[in-house]
């Protein structure tokens, strides 16, 4: 197929999907709409993880902490202390950016498994703090009664309107991420993923580029957290707990961490799987776990990876240029093979 025809087909396909999505409230029930909204705010979280994993080559387990943080700030400032919108929302995002910057400074010196464990630990610090603090954050009960604001007179308690706003935000977020991927920053990130040493030798500020990526990713998680808090009206430590963190990681890998659209696809599948499976069995976690094992053993590049192999998806834009789980000659960081602590 010629490039011209491919691009033509892609545009038509995209147009169909967009129309279907925008017109959604007209032909689906309220609960389906709620589920789509859920898909969107978890989608933001997935994009957050996916940016770091796909482009940056780093598995970060801190993203849910940012997701929860923005929700808590909104709850504390908006619901409990009555600050008018958009102050709580802006404060939430500012808090996320600040925390991500601080965390970034700490973690971005490490790579690979150590990076994973560090981000896990930092995420758990946030979780444990929120979980045990009752005087301010009400511990396990969380903050309830969160109401979405009414920007420009729009009533966000209406499902359809909330959906359109979320969809618009998501679309915008995807656009920004796409541009970022193709920008010099994005390309530098790709290079760092492949070989930080080489990039450093070429004069790139590897550390600062990684910190920036971390902050941007956190922003996406924070936005998702705001939408989630508005949608469910409540924020609890569950938003940050380890099982949620693991779930979103699986979601991204399921969709295909090596692709731009992987996180989105993974979220759609995982959320709908939840709805379907929970009507048949409460064993959602087992099913997802098994799916994940299968993916890692058989199709480490996720569903999009499989589609790519059978030719249904292209290797064009949106496809990061490496297979995530295939060995490389040169390791990513200062060599970690064959060395360990003394016993």
């Amino acid at each position: 197929m010629t490039t011209e025809a491919t691009r033509h087909a892609t545009t038509i396909a995209a147009a169909i999907v967009v129309v279907a999505l925008v017109a959604l409230p007209a032909y689906v029930g309220q609960y389906t709409l709620t589920t789509f909204i859920r898909t969107i705010y978890f989608g933001f979280l997935a994009l957050s993880v996916g940016l770091l994993l796909g482009q940056g080559g780093m598995i970060s387990l801190t993203q849910t902490a940012f997701f929860g943080l923005s929700g808590y700030v909104i709850g504390l400032l908006g619901t409990e202390r009555g600050f008018p919108s958009p102050i709580p929302e802006l404060a939430g995002l500012a808090a996320v950016l600040l925390l991500a910057f601080v965390f970034g400074l700490v973690v971005m010196r490490t790579y690979g498994t150590v990076f994973l464990m560090l981000t896990l630990a930092l995420g758990q610090i946030c979780w444990s703090f929120v979980r045990q603090n009752t005087s301010l954050l009400h511990g396990w009960a969380g903050i309830r009664g969160i109401q979405p604001p009414s920007p420009f007179g729009l009533d966000l308690t209406q499902h359809a309107i909330f959906y359109w706003i979320s969809l618009a935000a998501f679309g915008f977020g995807l656009l920004v991420l796409w541009r970022l991927a193709e920008s010099p920053f994005g390309l530098a990130l790709n290079g760092i993923r492949e070989s930080p040493r080489r990039m450093s030798a070429l004069g790139y500020p590897v550390f600062w580029l990684r910190v920036t990526a971390f902050v941007i990713a956190a922003l996406y998680a924070g936005i998702g957290g705001i939408l989630a808090a508005w949608s469910s009206g409540i924020v609890t430590p569950t938003a940050m707990q380890l099982s949620r963190t693991i779930w979103i990681l699986l979601v991204v890998i399921l969709g295909g961490a090596a692709h731009f659209w992987g996180p989105v696809l993974g979220t759609v599948i995982a959320v709908w799987l939840d709805v379907l499976i929970s009507q048949l069995t409460p064993r959602y976690n087992t099913v997802i776990g098994i799916v994940f094992v299968a993916v890692i053993l058989v199709a480490p590049n996720g569903i999009l990876g499989v589609l790519e192999k059978i030719g249904a998806a292209g290797t064009g834009p949106g496809r990061w240029r490496r297979n995530l789980f295939v060995p490389r000659a040169a390791e990513a960081a200062p060599p970690t093979h064959g060395r360990g602590g003394h016993t």
């Binding site: 598995i59 610090i125 976690n285 016993t343």
Partner: protein
């Protein structure tokens, strides 16, 4: 008097941390894999211990059953899954253990239900023991003794057996050891089994003096990771020191600042990582 009780509490907690962390850190040192199902191994080991106690009526049997069954599970996991992705990036193995932890935790929930359970230890060792004017639950002394025993056994294994020599050598230089004719695969399997065994045993111990419930697996995993990160990945001595330290922090934290008790356990980790990322006794990689 109150101070002594808090210190003893810290030692009890530290004992459990040590049993948990020792296997995990050794497995990492050798295989460069962090077993993220370690918490799930703990939980499952404890639950299987409960089942064994019901069948046999003996706590010792429960302890053995909890440990050995998980060791067996470890073997299956290592051979069946980890070995397959071994040639890939290390992250594949870690991710597999993450997925596994979800499955194990959910299956455990399905079988044993949502209500927290605990293991009844023989009344003889559970009753309060009065030593030097201090009344303290007897089982906790037993737990400390078991941890000391395990520490000694591990030291013996590492420094006085051929397996131990092979492990320590492989940690330093995998290829050469393999070239010398030692079956690396067997070493890996045995080490993973040992790590799993310790996890299962920890589950029975924890399930006896505390409780087992859904969600406990992630808490335990997090604590285990903190212990080995602070101690130094791959270092047994490091795990011992950090387990003792963190146990005291947790104990005093629960008494004086209960709202921050978990958080306080994480602070040393943050400090260590900021100043000396390889941990107290880890070797800089």
């Amino acid at each position: 008097m109150r101070l002594m009780i808090l210190i003893l509490n810290g030692l009890t907690q530290g004992a459990l941390f040590f049993v948990l962390g020792s296997g995990l850190t050794l497995a990492f040192g050798l295989m460069r894999v962090v077993n993220m199902s370690h918490g799930a191994f703990y939980l499952l080991g404890g639950y299987l211990g409960i089942a064994a106690l019901k069948l046999s009526g003996s706590w010792t049997v429960a302890l053995a059953a909890g440990g050995l069954s998980i060791a067996l599970l470890g073997l299956v996991v290592e051979r069946g899954m980890l070995a397959r992705v071994r040639e890939g990036a290390d992250l594949s193995q870690t991710l597999l253990t993450i997925a596994l932890s979800m499955i194990i935790a959910d299956v455990a929930l399905a079988i044993w239900g949502g209500h927290p359970l605990s293991i009844r230890s023989p009344a003889a060792i559970t009753r309060p023991v009065t030593l030097f004017g201090l009344t303290y639950p007897g089982f906790r002394y037993v737990l400390m003794a078991i941890a000391v025993l395990i520490a000694l056994l591990l030291w013996l294994i590492l420094y006085r057996t051929r397996f131990g020599i092979a492990v320590r050598a492989s940690v330093d230089d995998r290829e050469t050891v393999s070239a010398l004719g030692v079956r690396i695969d067997t070493i890996y399997s045995l080490m993973f089994m040992l790590s799993a065994l310790l996890g299962g045993i920890a589950g029975v111990l924890g399930g006896t003096y505390l409780q087992l419930s859904p969600g406990e697996d992630t808490t335990i995993l997090t604590y285990s990771l903190v212990v080995i990160i602070v101690g130094g990945l791959g270092s047994l001595l490091g795990t011992l020191v950090s387990a003792l330290l963190l146990g005291q922090i947790l104990s005093f934290g629960l008494a004086y600042a209960p709202e921050m008790s978990m958080f306080l356990v994480f602070v040393p980790m943050a400090i260590v990582l900021a100043i000396r990322p390889e941990g107290l006794f880890g070797r800089r990689t």
